[in-house]
Amino acid sequence: MKAFQKVYTRIDNITKATIVLRADEVGNDELATVRDDKGSEKLAQVVKIMGDSVTLQVFAGTEGIATDSEVTFLGHAPRLRVSDDLSGRFFNAYGDPIEEGGKNMAADGMGGGPDGGDGEEREIGGPTVNPFRRLQPSELIATGIAGIDLNNTIVSGQKIPFFADPDQPYNAVMANVALRAKADKIILGGMGLSNDDFLYFKHVFENAGALDRIVSFVNTTENPPVERLLVPDMALTAAEYFAVDKGQKVLVLLTDMTLYADALAIVSNRMDQIPSKDSMPGSLYSDLAKIYEKAVQLPNGGSITIIAVTTLSGGDITHAIPDNTGYITEGQLFLRNDSDTGKVIVDPFRSLSRLKQLVIGKKTREDHPQIMNACVRLYADAANAKTKLENGFDLSDYDERTLKFAYDYSEKLLSIDVNIDITEMLDTAWTLLAKYFSKEEVGIKAELIDKYWQS
């Protein structure tokens, strides 16, 4: 096929991330290859066409590209070959396998997927699911972590990020969540993942014997940053294949979306676009929404659930990236180091799952909503008592008890190393309530107290 394609060898402009050349019959979003001075091919995508002047974004950066480098247009947008052969394999941002043996790019050069498979090639970043064809999410995803299952229950078809500081163990938590969730497929989209973290994910999945249900698209810190822009769409195209075509429950992990947004900013900067808040492109909201809105509950039983990581700088959630994310996703999860117990906990105050109302007390035991609220309220009382203590005021007996409760609650339930089922979480909560409080103090409906109070 390549033989019939015209090769261009006159590049007019070169910036760090883009090249401009004269060409015709070029489609918007189309891919091209650029051969650099070492003879290796770099992938580029059309981002702007003005008459016969075509601007290409070169994913791997333009180092080594000369004004006479060969440019060949491929006639299609980035795509992925989808088939069951994707399972258990690791791909780079272009969808080419990166496992041992170093099989490189797929047959036609780019936009590969596994070699030799008879899968269909699909363009990534495809159309939107008709909102009217969606179903309301209603299936609980159990993770064993009480800070999530009890207080911020995740539902299939939901999209929810961890808002975490870079030093927090968000990747470990995410790997745990992924393995415990009863998903048919787990798709990892790694953007700017450090090589260590990449190997960590690989080992955890291998050790769990779960490799056959995992597909990974990984851009590590060793790879050029602009390549990252392809990762979420690659991961979600694979997810749509399994969810739509195969009716499977797919869990997509995207880490770290902040680095993705940074890559967006780089490209928009190189294209001389006017930046809006925090140097981010004006289209950041739409760009992020296009990714997150792929989360869906389908009528065929398949679903795509997205759990992402957005790292914060200095815990600032008003920065454009977490702020826009918060408006798109259905809640957010915060990790916090609890200085009393020395554990990492899921912060019950700042975390929120917007879809939990659809399942708690319906798919879980009837006392779930009340227990959840009672515990968080008492935990808030403990926080107040702590402030009192720090300010040198005397503590009442009630204050003392809330502090003890908070310690146990944090250790036995909120801590991320807890792994129990939801009924057990509820029972544990009842035990703690009965241990420190009277029936009147917990403010739970009388019928539930009669049924579950552990005297």
Partner: protein, 590 residues
Amino acid sequence: MKTKGRVNGIISNILIVKADGPVGQNEICHVFPTGEEVKLMAEVIKVVGDQAYVQVFDSTRGLKIGDRVEFEGHMLEVTLAPGLLSRNYDGLQNDLEKMESLFIARGSITEPVDFEKKWPFKPLAKAGDRVSAAAWLGEVQEQWIAHKIMVPFTMRMEAGTYTVKSVAAAGEYKVTDTIAVITDTDGKDHDITMVQKWPVKQAVRAYAEKPRPSRVMETGVRAIDTFNPLAEGGTGFIPGPFGAGKTVLQHAISKQAEADVIIMVACGERANEVVEIFTEFPELVDPRTGHKLMERTIIICNTSNMPVAAREASVYTGMAIGEYYRAMGLKVLIMADSTSRWAQALREMSNRLEELPGQDAFPMDLSAIISNFYSRAGLVKLYNGETGSVTFLGTVSPAGGNLKEPVTESTKKAARCFYALSQGRADSKRYPAIDPLDSYSKYLEYPEIETYLNEHIEDNWVRRVYEGKTLVQRGKEANDQINILGDDGVPVEYHQRFWKSELIDFVILQQDAFDSIDANCPMERQKMMYNMVLDVCTREFTFDDFEVCGTFFKTLINLFRQMNYAEWQSDKFSSYKQQIEETVQAQASK
């Protein structure tokens, strides 16, 4: 003959088209991608010489230089006809329900109304009547609304320009059948059908006058109706950071508001929230009429992952449909969630056109665009003496929760009611998180509204509302003092002041949107509760110390809240009322 053109440049979803004839600003054109069967709709947003800049309401992937373009000679239009109610449209009025496939394929176009269905038509005008644009010629029953068939809005508005030549007899007609013939002053006949088209970005002006709003639109939300009422034909907006409950509040209002027609514009927000409406509204019953909520609702849904340009169009599509139903003498409530996404769509366009940016890279004329849009709402007096109204309530999603950003500030200039959702209230689960001190309703200052409230609720109502607001303000000041000086450091009187404001907060301002009874509080009930609370607040009690004071008010708050949860005028309700009176009496006599 149509102007034709060829694509000469592509920047994301903007095309530069070289046209071979006249091109109008905001004119609609279609792009025909080579080798594909579809056509993509686009709108002209700038013209430079023979180059038209058009924004495509769809993905531009694969488009090439030289692709064929056809200009349509008209602006973006909505189709107005019986059968709009209960439908789920995208931002360009394509019926989402009629799209068969799971994914919205590029260039999907579906009919906004059913052209085959027959409607039972009843004539209202007769031969010889003098009519003009928006005059009622007949009506058909659409759900439980008498849907008026009008002289198209695009015809002349001067009274009596046309004479009715004939009107079809009562019977079953399709929307495209001619149901009347009217003759203009030149003697030319015009066939009138039940369907007309209107350019969405232009306001419908076919009405006699637009007086100041003079009635209140009940929403069933105490923090709004009692404290900061929204006028029928008025405008309001709800800014709030994410998680503050904008959407829950809007959904609650859409369920409860006493409107004939509700138009929900989901503009660049989450698809799952729209799915919630799709799932719930066909089941929920409107307590006032006994009909399903979906029967009076039109959903315009352009979620955040749908094309950006169509997102901008969606709010206008909603407004134009609202104006159409207003011309029938109906009360229309339009809700848009969120107008910030619309403003962001404008920003993306402006950015790609390389216009010089204003604040935060928004276009310079953002403020003008927003006020122009809000001004289309309003109460109108029709030519036949009836009134109709469009009430508009939009949400704003301020970046970082900071109300000093351009969209919030521009909207503040345009909208008359401001319902600020505060992060602090949301964090302490005081829902709805409408801040009682920052929020306002300009309508409380309108003498017309004051008269209306005093007549419909009770004498001196507005004065009492201000009294309550002052109590909340004083309570906050007292609380600040307590926090600085400590519980013992201030007179007990300060605690009493603080607790009185807490009483108003817990009983009137807070409301449980998920409780079947408390969610919707009719005005009669609001009046009773507010008067009871205010009666307590205007009494001066004597307490031995601040703890006694706190305990007393906590008990009262609990009783009042039980009352809020109890069925109106049930035995339980009366029993709580009696307990409250006894508790207050006991304390007062001390």
